[in-house]
Amino acid sequence: MPAQHDMRESMLAAVPNLRAFAVSLCGDIDRANDLVQETLLRAWAHQDSFEPGTNMSAWLFTILRNHFRTEYRKRRREVEDADGGYAERLTSPEAQTGHVEFGELREALLHLPPDQREALILVGASGFSYEEAAHICECAVGTIKSRVNRARKKLAELLTIELEPEPESAPQVLIRRAV
């Protein structure tokens, strides 16, 4: 069936970008691969809901994003139950991804609220327009713009800490890291 073959090819072609999006969202390559696998399974099972002629990549990103958000909420509940209300604990991204050179950036990303993180990645790295990102995140275009701005600002703060060269600023670094 040619249509189905096209579907498989299009999904295959989207895999590298889906993985990059997933790793940026969760900071963990194994979990990212699981997210992508679940996304492909869901997309395959719901092929009928894809409108031919629309953006296949955006459709797959939407599925992955929704799955991540559901999982994130579930995990946070589990952690809160076990840990008396503290937010999701982050382990070292370097150890998990194997991409040491981007360790600081990955860690900084994980300190952003998920809605800001996804907005920044979609617009700043995946190359979606504000309109497409708004569609994927099911919110208004203005909301995406403000999330991207806040994300950039927070990221700049976090990376300033990492880039701070003067040793006398060490106490400040410790304080700000603890926030």
Partner: protein
């Protein structure tokens, strides 16, 4: 990642173009690093199996 440069913020609390550009560059570099890994076998195999099942 450049370690020696300090990211500056303009007085109004808005990020300078320079900072925005640096953040964008780093984000895209990190992202492209994963994209360049291509399609791991597990996903090609998965889609092949799904495709075969429907035939």
């Amino acid at each position: 990642m450049p370690q020696t440069e300090k990211l500056e913020e303009s007085p109004k609390g808005r990020l300078s173009r320079d900072v925005q550009r640096k953040i964008g560059q780093q984000l895209r570099a990190m992202y492209t690093d994963v994209v360049n890994e291509g399609v791991p076998d597990r996903f090609a195999d998965l889609l092949r199996r799904l495709d075969d099942k429907n035939k």
